[in-house]
Symmetry: C2
């Protein structure tokens, strides 16, 4: 197996249409990248049935580890910890803990994934809390936004720590030397915002950072792409992300309604089909699938529960980038020196 750079542990049972979409996602990934080895956790018979559909998945590039149970979305985190030790999610995380895999991806219960990862993989020394980061498209490319919901209470230290961690994430994915980092706020003036945010602003402004601190950013400017890393507390970040998702869905649905509610509309749609395909491709949210748990001793990736195989494929691509970019090592170097 010397041709493999990295091993990814995959919880094949979480989310909708699993393990079908998971295996299809792996197959799509293997079409373009053969240097990752997979450890696949879940019901062996179901997984083998899916793997048999694809020529490019075999015992040469994956190993199936049978797990009879799985953590459901409806399970509380407490229950998940209590009764989940034999589940596909737990076993996959354990594999990373034991250094037999470099990263884990799951489409399952977010809360359980976060808590079990913290329990087994543990926080990097010096990092206070884990954060969930996500990719956010903008006019110039993609930025990363964190925290998207791991922590609803934030203090000054969290903002400063997550600025460092977020900058390393951006660096490892996009290979940019000096990422530009901003704090999400409700105004661009220094006097706006609550005390924790304002004191984080002052600290980041005074610090010699290994990124470019760009001050505050407002929600309507994330799209501009003038900032690479956007830091916010988990409450506001989660609300911003979900509101943006809802807005995309609202607009898409209203536009579709107008093009499908008359014969003329349907003709226009067919006539413009190549353009609609291009729009769909440009705005496709599946390309940004994958919540990245940061601050742990190994990367943990949460794929959206409702993600399809194409979206899952993108979360594997993201995982490979993160591994090749040396994310965890980069983050650690900030806290050894600091």
């Amino acid at each position: 197996m010397s041709s493999f750079n990295y091993t990814i542990a995959i919880d094949a049972m979480g989310g909708e249409s699993s393990p079908k979409k998971i295996i299809e996602g792996i197959s799509l990934f293997l079409e373009e990248d053969k240097e990752i080895y997979f450890n696949i956790f879940g019901k062996k018979d179901l997984i083998i049935k899916e793997i048999d559909k694809y020529k490019n998945i075999s015992t040469e590039n994956c190993k199936i580890i049978n797990c009879e149970t799985q953590i459901e979305d409806k399970n509380s985190v407490r229950d998940a910890i209590k009764v989940g030790k034999e589940s596909s999610m737990w076993k996959a995380i354990e594999r990373v803990k034991n250094k037999e895999s470099d990263l884990i991806i799951s489409s399952g219960n977010t809360g359980a994934l976060l808590v079990i990862s913290k329990l087994l993989i543990k926080m990097i020394d010096g990092v206070d809390k884990p954060a969930i980061a996500g990719l956010w498209p903008n006019f110039q490319g993609v930025s990363v936004v964190l925290d998207l919901g791991a922590n609803i209470e934030f203090n000054e230290k969290n903002y400063v720590e997550f600025s460092k961690i977020g900058a390393e994430l951006y660096r490892s994915i996009f290979e940019k030397k000096d990422p530009r980092v901003s704090l999400l706020n409700i105004g661009s003036e220094e006097i706006k915002g609550h005390e924790e945010l304002k004191s984080a602003f002052r600290t980041l402004n005074a610090n010699k950072n290994n990124f470019i601190f760009k001050g505050y950013i407002e929600g309507n400017h994330i799209k501009d792409g003038d900032v690479d890393v956007i830091i916010t507390d988990g409450f506001s970040g989660n609300i911003a992300l979900k509101t943006a998702e809802g807005t995309v869905n609202y607009m898409t649905t209203e536009i579709k309604k107008i093009f499908s509610s008359s014969l003329f509309g349907k003709i226009c749609y067919l006539f413009s089909l190549p353009l609609f395909k291009k729009i769909k491709k440009t705005l496709d949210p599946r390309k940004y699938n994958g919540g990245i748990f940061l601050g742990l001793n190994a990367p943990v990736i949460k794929s959206h529960g409702s993600a399809d195989s194409f979206a899952f494929f993108y979360s594997i691509k993201l995982s490979a980038k993160i591994l090749r970019g040396g994310l965890v090592k980069r983050i650690k170097s900030n806290f050894e020196n600091g």
Copy 2:
């Protein structure tokens, strides 16, 4: 002047392209509603020059009050209070304080408008803080969301108070007997969110409310229209609103780019023009222009600084609805009994 139901005070000097857009907005409004009288505050010569362009504005339906100074967007709230006493904004608010107008609209400095309104018009007895509410389109119509930025810190009492106030706002605009009210949160389960929010949830659940309490709502479900009133703290609310605005702008721009970057695209666009016009009309954000300051002894409406005449016209329409719906009286009745 017995044919007029209400008098609206207008600060004609705030925002971009004022007073031009303001006067044009008033003229558009008078095309369809002749029962409102206007007190227009600002530089008299500039205002008269604009009024002369329209046949339907005259001394019969408006009075101009000359104000030589104006509060600029760049002014701090402190400066605005100190030196702004002769400004168009201050004078217009004062008019409402003196009960010579029923409501004030301004496109100017939001912070100054809020603070001067609090100072002169004062809070309704029993209401702790003012809130800024806005209209939010959804699949079934329009909902109202508050707070959009007046208060960045929230306690349990604020959530409960704003639920009552928001329900009255919805009732006065949309004439619905039992509005459905939800708290914006990062999950729909009872255990999610911070302590203030959770205790507000418990209180609202236990209370006998004069609205239907629907529990928590997540950002991606605002669009569904299953809830009429969405309550959130001013920090998250402002971020949600601006992020939604940014997302609409991002999508619109990307779609335009694709239709305008080739000859084929331009032909498709021309061919489908009636549909694009319909889309533009359906998604037109100008129809939702107007931040409504709530909790004061008179309604104060903030029109977006960059709003055009059409958007300003909509904020006057909204103001007329609020006055006819008896908003302030409705809110007061909640706090007299409570």
